[in-house]
Amino acid sequence: MKTTLKANAVWLGVMILGFVVIDAAEFAGLVNTFIENMLVTIGINVILATGLNLIIGFSGQFSLGHAGFMAIGAYATGIITQSIATPLGFYLSMIVGIFVAIIAALIVGIPTLRLRGDYLAIATMGAAEIIRILINNLKITNGAAGLFNIPALASWATVYTIMCVTTIVTVNFIHSRGGRAVMSVREDEIAAEAMGINTTRWKLAAFVFGAATAAIGGSLHAAYIQTIAPSDFNIMASIAILIIVVLGGVGSITGTFVAAIVLGALDTILQNFGTLRMIIYSLALILIMIFKPTGLLGNWELSFKRLNHHKEVSAHE
């Protein structure tokens, strides 16, 4: 218990430190709008990818439809904050987005989660495309033109804070009884079932949880970029999130952070290479995958608890 508390305190310290560093850098003029844009994009990607990593890495279900749930969150914020342009309206819209995304995830998940591997991937991809096509043709979402002039209700601080909160909740879930049940499904579905775990329920739980975080990411995206269009949430958007998860290491939340930061920075730096940017990006992707097939961090996690434990053990010796 004591080590847990200590480790938690360290984590809290790290989070506050991160915040203070960015804030100070902003104050000192080191972080201008451009860098801030990069940081926020990284933050939103972390939120999205953590949720997807929970689905893919921890419950072992291959979902390719993350952008669909992100779209739901984004449009909830886009539509609601048009009429209630206050921070309260923003948080309300985020909750509505989460709620709708959960319902959508249940509708999609209950039938499709019986499928396995690539079949599930293609079914979830289809579901996300259906969501996007509906948005593209509805009046309330303003069709293909999308929504713009969305009030700027998310600053980098909002994104940072919510990123921390979603990560804590996700990690706590992974370390809870539910999380262990989810992971047992990944390791061996039949054995898990034999142990009395309702596999369908826990798969669905992970899927719904992931969808909810995707909606949060979408909300923040809409409120920060202030423009959303159906084409932002196509198959390629789902794939972009998948790339972060796999590059960081399937089943490693630390890896997701690292990959989101590496890719975010890479993308920003490549902005100086003009038309070559996507070529370099794709080459980097191929090379990293060939030389680090399990992702940058594999399934390694940074854990202060473990570090502490090591220290104590060596001290005793």
């Binding site: 039938p111 293609i122 289809g126 579901a127 039949i190 590059l247 992707l285």
Partner: protein, 292 residues
């Protein structure tokens, strides 16, 4: 009635295009269980190859078609050897991301080298439209339809009747056991990629000629549709891929014919999900029993 007949022709000719592409997907997936995202882009390379040999070397259509098949087969083999072979024992999702990387590379590399502009494909075969009973069908539509069916038959023969085909089937069931009985894994997989990519090359030239418009991103949407077609038909199955292609072609046509063109892709995905729920391995797919 005429309209329905005409729509049937439209649907079949669209379906034959998806079928051509789906064949390559299904072969590669069947043997190494990889969703080869780059397949649609190899099809694009085939179209560009056809464009250049016809415009620059002034070859005739048959030569363009065959050389595109050879060229794409080579490209397929090279991609497999460089990008996929090192990952054969890695998690499958890693290979998938590599495939996406290859797809990005081909799309953006071609945009960089040849600009992203749409080009018109040289019309080496003059379009002749035949009329019968108030319906129209063009010689190129017939050509694509016949080629798609012919290639499907040839593939099925290769897989079922030749020694290499036997090796392919063996590898697809159990690579390790196949190696134990003396099958060269690398050769067999390379051969599969060559075959699948050659299909894509043929499709590129045929479709380029049919629509008369090619661009570096042309492989993206049809690639995904063709993959859906392969899944509907039962991925790994050659007749299944063709059937899936025709189902999607007819379905899209039907949805547009009744005036719901805005939802044509949505309907395709709904049907995909429904089919997967009823037949989890597609129409002709083998449902592998779980072992404890």
């Amino acid at each position: 009635m005429q309209t329905i007949g005409q729509q049937l022709i439209n649907g079949l000719s669209l379906g034959s295009i998806y079928a051509l592409l789906a064949l390559g997907y299904t072969m590669v997936y069947g043997i190494i269980k990889l969703i080869n995202f780059a397949h649609g882009d190899i099809y694009m390379l085939g179209a560009f190859w056809g464009y250049y040999v016809i415009n620059v070397l002034h070859v005739n259509f048959i030569v363009a078609l065959l050389s595109a098949m050879v060229f794409c087969a080579l490209v397929g083999v090279v991609i497999e050897a460089i990008a996929y072979r090192p990952l054969r024992h890695s998690p499958r999702i890693t290979a998938l991301i590599t495939a996406i990387g290859v797809s990005f590379l081909l799309e953006n590399g071609m945009s960089y080298l040849f600009t992203a502009n749409t080009r018109n494909f040289p019309q080496v075969i003059k379009t002749v439209t035949w009329h019968f009973a108030g319906m129209r069908i063009s010689n190129i539509q017939v050509l694509i339809l016949v080629t798609a069916c012919l290639l499907m038959l040839i593939l099925e023969l290769i897989i079922k009747k030749t020694k290499m085909g036997k090796a392919m089937r063996a590898v697809s069931v159990d690579p390790t056991a196949a190696q134990l009985v003396g099958i060269n894994l690398n050769h067999t997989i390379s051969f599969t990629f060559a075959l699948g990519s050659a299909m894509a090359g043929a499709a590129g030239v045929l479709i380029g000629l049919y629509y008369n418009s090619i661009d570096p991103l042309m492989g993206m949407t049809p690639g995904i549709k063709a993959f859906v077609a392969a899944v509907i038909g039962g991925i790994g199955s050659v007749p299944g891929a063709s059937l899936g292609g025709f189902i999607i072609g007819l379905l899209e046509t039907a949805v547009q014919a009744i005036g719901l063109s805005a939802y044509k892709d949505a309907v395709v995905y709904v049907v995909l999900i429904v089919i997967l729920l009823v037949l989890p391995a597609g129409i002709f797919g083998k449902n592998v029993k779980e072992k404890v």
